[in-house]
């Protein structure tokens, strides 16, 4: 599939249908197309052909969405920055990639050092749709994620990568949207999971219902679900973790698909969630940004035994055309059921981190596959194993594997048992390694709760885990620190515990 041409075809074919519902206002595909034409006019009138990477301040409005497609149809990439992120970090990103032009629909110009363009102010009457400029090797977007060195690292994704993703999703018989679908778009556009929420909907002429950034997301998701009887929900699992105490009030038979992605998905919560969405298929998507959003997924089976490890639902099988490898500690291919680092190869794989040769040398490698072809692989940093059926199980992050007294300890395993104890079952918990005063790693259970007696919990863990795996301390916190994608910020948490 060529995504850009298919999107344009869908915009024209579905011109009268609604494309977006933003802040309770509907916009048709014609409105979207008109806005895309404006964006393209601004580009051709103001931006040099050689300026390929364009900044985009992501607001919750039609102009911001139209800018993505306008840039793509002009063969350019968007580099999203979040207006609520610290400006210094945004400037670091924009300068790292030599951005000259920024599209910003905000009423106040924040980035005056750059040439800024506001689509709503453009005067482009009577413009027609010009032919699409497409080159597979051009970049479609560059996303920045936090790097271990503190500086954000840029992940460039080309149209070839994006087309491979669109093709994989298109071929997937389990996940077929239709024009009448009403789809949730809750992701911030700096998070690539936004694309697997948006693109399938736009390709069939369905309507996407957006969640603004300044609201309580889990409430807003429920509000949209109730008001508009949404049919497709792509969400981070934390949405249902927050809604869990209120599941008994949720009854959404309209939902056809619940797709999760971005975090570990716990099987026990899904078992409860499916009662709220009795007609829904549940898919667990997995994939790193470096591999264009999604490489694997698992289809949850209602009323049957599902595959999970330490309570975390399987990430299933790779898409067709995706090669998965598990490397053991010696970097040899692991056997079935042996835990190692998941490595991915295929057309969705990024060309490498932006101007970061040292990281590229350690993150990517070439490997000869079974049929003798050399392929480039990416080390995901995720520990997984493949079972005898070819399904992959997520074990944890490689950097969450710590050594305690020389023993390798997987934090996810301890977390699993913590989550199973009566005193912590209904609470948010995690296990973290913290350097103690003698500079040794020490395990700490962190519980999002007011303080309670933990004697019974620790005694229970002693019956389930080897003694070196049982945390010696329990830390209570009112709320976990989260990063802007809603994931728990372990680094910040470690600092809070240390202090």
């Amino acid at each position: 599939m060529n995504l850009i041409y298919s999107l344009h075809k869908s915009f024209e074919l579905n011109a009268k249908r609604n494309a977006f519902c933003i802040d309770d206002k509907f916009y048709s595909y014609q409105d979207l197309l008109d806005s895309v034409i404006k964006v393209r006019k601004i580009i051709t009138s103001n931006i040099d052909v050689i300026d390929n990477n364009i900044g985009l301040v992501i607001n919750d409005d039609l102009e911001t969405y139209a800018t993505i497609f306008g840039l793509w149809m002009e063969g350019k990439a968007y580099v999203p920055v979040n207006p609520i992120a610290p400006k210094t970090r945004n400037l670091e990103i924009l300068n790292a990639i030599n951005i000259k032009h920024i599209f910003d629909s905000s009423s106040k110009v924040e980035y005056s050092d750059f040439k800024t363009h506001n689509v709503s102010e453009a005067n482009t009457n009577n413009s027609t749709f010009e032919s699409i400029k497409f080159n597979e090797s051009n970049l479609a977007y560059v996303l920045f994620t936090s790097g271990s060195t503190g500086a954000p690292k840029g992940i460039p994704i080309s149209f070839k990568n994006l087309n491979a993703l669109a093709t994989a999703l298109d071929r997937d018989e389990e996940y077929k949207l239709k024009a009448a679908d009403r789809c949730l778009q809750m992701y911030d556009l700096t998070f690539d999971a936004s694309l697997t929420a948006l693109l399938p909907a736009l390709l069939v002429g369905a309507c996407s219902y957006t969640v603004p950034s300044n609201v309580i997301k889990y409430f807003h998701v429920y509000k949209l679900l109730e008001k508009h009887k949404l049919t497709v929900l792509k969400m981070v699992p934390s949405i249902i973790y927050y809604l869990r105490p209120y599941f008994s009030e949720i009854n959404a038979p309209s939902v056809r698909y619940s797709i999760f992605g971005g975090e570990k998905l716990y099987e026990d919560i899904v078992n409860d969630w499916v009662k709220c969405v009795p007609n829904s298929k549940v898919l667990n998507h997995y994939g790193p940004t470096e591999f264009t959003v999604c490489s694997n997924y698992y289809k949850y089976k209602s009323n049957k035994k599902n595959k999970s490890h330490n309570g975390v639902l399987s990430i299933g099988k790779p898409f067709k055309g995706v090669d998965c490898l598990i490397l053991d500690e010696e970097e040899d291919i692991a056997s079935n059921n042996q835990v190692g680092e998941l490595c991915l190869s295929g057309n969705q794989l990024t060309s490498g981190y932006y101007k970061n040769e040292s990281l590229n040398l350690t993150s990517f490698f070439t490997h000869k596959t079974a049929n003798g072809i050399s392929k480039r692989f990416y080390k995901t940093g995720d520990l997984c194993f493949m079972d005898d059926d070819g399904d992959y199980m997520y074990v944890g992050r490689k950097d969450f594997q710590v050594k305690i007294g020389g023993y390798r300890v997987e934090l996810g395993e301890i977390e699993y048992h913590v989550r199973n104890h009566e005193s912590t079952k209904s609470k948010n918990t995690l296990v973290i390694d913290v350097k103690n005063t003698s500079d040794n790693d020490e395990l700490v259970i962190v519980v999002e709760s007011i303080q309670f007696d933990t004697k019974a919990l620790l005694e229970y863990l002693n019956t389930k885990l080897a003694d070196y795996m049982v945390p010696k301390k329990v830390f209570f916190i009112d709320n976990f620190p989260h990063n802007k994608n809603g994931k728990i910020d372990r680094k910040a948490l470690r600092n809070i515990i240390k202090n």
Binding site: V215, I216, K217, Y218, F219, Y222, K223, E226, Y242, L243, Y246, E249, I250, E448, D478, N479, F480, H482
Partner: protein, 81 residues
């Protein structure tokens, strides 16, 4: 229980969860007026208020609260229920 008495009790939950008392609470106060009152702390504050009054909020009520005045109304409704 009148609105003033309810405010005194809910203020305790806000101070406990947010770990500061640098805010005013009156019927027109919204999340914007109180540092740290955001999506994650909101549920914690509401859970603490539920315990103080021995009530359970409904999801719909929690969502439609725009300000402290709405919260007080909901608490009164739940106490009487």
């Amino acid at each position: 229980m009148n609105s003033e008495e309810i405010i005194i009790t809910i203020r305790k939950s806000f101070v406990k969860i947010l770990e500061h008392d640098n805010f005013e609470l009156n019927e027109s106060t919204t999340a914007k007026d109180v540092d740290g009152w955001e999506s994650i702390t909101h549920l914690l504050i509401m859970n603490d208020i539920e315990k103080s009054f021995d009530i359970k909020f409904k999801l719909m009520d929690l969502m439609s609260m725009e300000n402290i005045g709405d919260l007080i109304k909901t608490i009164k409704k739940e106490i009487q229920a």
